[in-house]
């Protein structure tokens, strides 16, 4: 396997560190818009000559296709932000490469009833091209990070091995991370966090299909394992709600993010002030009026989460809560994966949230190499057998857990 990794930010860099310990691939080309980031990621790998740095604009489909061809890559792994999903997805299709991403093509709210009906859904643009991929016998494995990704594998595992019938699948994500010296320092890319949290959350119900609610709906306190404890969670737009029902039968699917009350209030304020907008505003500058996206300015004012690992303390938990029936009796299970920042920093020099996202696509690539996972079309992680994935994740030194509740 020869991999083109596009994006050498926090997650991309962690992917190189995780992959460097594995032997399943022949080459991994690290490409970024900023060549210094790609160079730094490769330089940190102590001369492992399977890795090469390149510069590429992820929005330039032709340039990406060219780079895939030039390095004879058979897999494109997308570690950029979701704005670049479509050009990368299409560049992979053009060149015949397998495509893997960790977030899907962006949604657009319903023009008239944004908080009741879906407009364009997450991944719609990708699924619209599923026929082409299937016809070509090519694979796009979409949403293959931790959430979506591992959370979808858990959903399929619950359906295969733990339940006869599933009432509800609820992805629940929470953490107790703090950052020394920073009163406010999100542990994940703020651009994506705003996108996820302020878009109308999507919910699936078997008899209604997909529908939306107002942001931050259905608050609940979920008790996270391994000492994290109770965190206030709210509905958030997330890929699992779009992916899980395509392959797993459940009466209801939700995603709730343990943002905590203070963070929710902060996001509401950004929205109130229009600072979440991506459309440019005109602002004076020393070199005359310039046009900038307010959301980019918010991101520029905050520390880069990938650089905060040394100052971070605590654990992050991703998981899938399932309620249903097994052998005639009601059952409720939370399948989860916890990463302690202290461990991920010591082992990989990567902060917990970024490392937890990065490990899953590497496991998936290894399963595709060995043939344990195979398929054609645009497929989510729940389209594949879950057991080999969960076993290999444990073999990577990062076990998962199961709590009956």
């Amino acid at each position: 396997m020869r991999v083109l990794l596009v994006g050498a930010g926090g997650v991309g860099t962690a992917i190189t560190r995780i992959a460097a310990r594995r032997s399943f691939f022949e080459a991994l080309v690290v490409a970024d818009y900023d060549p210094a980031r790609a160079d730094a990621a490769v330089a940190a790998l102590d001369g492992d000559d399977r890795f090469h740095a390149e510069r590429v604009d992820a929005g330039d489909e032709a340039a990406v296709a060219d780079l895939l061809a030039r390095h004879r890559c058979d897999v494109l792994l997308n570690a950029t932000d979701p704005r670049f999903v479509m050009p990368l997805f299409r560049a992979a299709r053009t060149t015949g490469a397998t495509y893997v991403d960790m977030a899907m093509s962006l949604s657009r709210p319903h023009p008239d009833r944004p908080y009741e009906e879906c407009g364009v859904r997450l991944g719609d643009a990708q699924f619209a091209e599923a026929g082409d991929w299937a016809a070509a016998g090519a694979l796009a494995l979409v949403g293959m990070g931790v959430e979506p990704g591992l959370s979808d594998v858990f959903a399929r595992y619950a359906a295969d091995e733990l339940f006869d019938e599933i009432e509800e699948i609820g992805i629940r994500d929470g953490a107790n991370l703090t950052v020394e010296g920073h009163d406010f320092a999100p542990s994940f890319n703020i651009w994506t966090t705003i996108e996820e949290c302020l878009n109308p959350p999507v919910v699936y119900e078997a008899d209604r299909g997909w529908f939306t609610t107002a942001p931050f709906s259905e608050p609940e306190v979920f008790d996270f394992p391994e000492g994290i404890g109770p965190v206030e969670c709210v509905n958030v737009e997330h890929e699992e709600v779009l992916l899980v029902p395509r392959w797993v039968k459940a009466r209801r699917v939700t995603f709730k993010y343990g943002l905590g009350n203070a963070f929710i209030e902060t996001l509401k304020t950004l929205h109130l002030l229009g600072l979440d907008r991506t459309a440019p505003v005109t602002v004076p500058s020393a070199s005359g009026p310039v046009s900038v996206s307010p959301r980019d300015v918010v991101a520029a004012c905050l520390p880069d989460p990938a650089t905060l690992g040394e100052l971070m303390h605590g654990k992050t938990c991703a998981g899938t809560w399932v309620r249903g029936v097994k052998d005639g009796a009601p059952r409720e299970v939370y399948l989860y994966h916890v990463v302690d920042n202290q461990w991920s920093m010591a082992e990989y020099g990567s902060q917990a949230v970024v490392w937890q996202t990065a490990v899953n696509p590497v496991v998936a690539l290894e399963l595709l190499t060995t043939g344990a996972w195979s398929g054609a079309g645009v497929l989510g992680p729940e389209a594949f057998p879950p057991r080999p994935f969960l076993d290999l994740l444990t073999a990577y030194g990062s076990p998962w857990g199961q709590r009956e509740q």
Copy 2:
């Protein structure tokens, strides 16, 4: 009197509309960085040939001095934001013009103990040059809007006519303004509001002098007159605290702004995220990386308060609460000035907060023309006899009130 008005924003434009109804001056030159704003202000006055539009950069002291000389102006009225106080103040001194402003030179927090001690205080840079003004027999009348301005006149009036001894003078500002169709739309320049509210508030006590506290300190609910009702007020950095004790004897002087809880939380969030900062950050844009001030971006995302008059409802109140002793008995009085937005829009086409700021410097200029007010040096409004001011304000159609409490 020939006046150079620098700044044709909301307050500057309202000044032209108020002045146009008075006969005390011979010429009023309206100058702005944006010539379209100056032109629009003059064009709205139906051919009153005392008004002329000019373009000027308020930060360019030499250009301002040149403009004063060219139009033979004997008064410079500064209606820009406080960043431009010093170049305008100095341009007036150079040319021998009287200088009037509505906000004073900016403060700088104490480097080590910002929430305990003053660093550079509001107006310090101007008072440092007071000797030059006095020696030249020239007048700089500083802080002559509504707050500071009318509030200082009230303080002097209380000392002259209502009290034998004053325990505390507390400026209290509150409103019940709402803006149709906007969940968040400050009624005054957000740049200045952030500056005022996030700088360490200053308090004066006779036995301690001036000192600072943490932002939003000493919350209290103050009951505002004429139907506005109770509003949560907190300490805010404001000129009155620096001006009043120089001319009026009181044991304590404070300024509390009726921001309301929601607005206070919004400002705290902006501060937490670093979006209140004026130092530029680098942000991507369609034309490559650019440097912008986050606070300018916040301002650009919000509607221009001067344009909101038609959508605004409610009243704004500025006033001075005084507690002390008269004829051996304790007394407590609130002297206030309320403007109803519906009235100011109907009468002047100016929204209430902007109009209330604008009327006071026009009254002051008229008193300087008639000789009812005269002086030399750098003087606050409380350095002059209050009664002529209050009577002329009433004659302008905008009476003030007194509430015994």
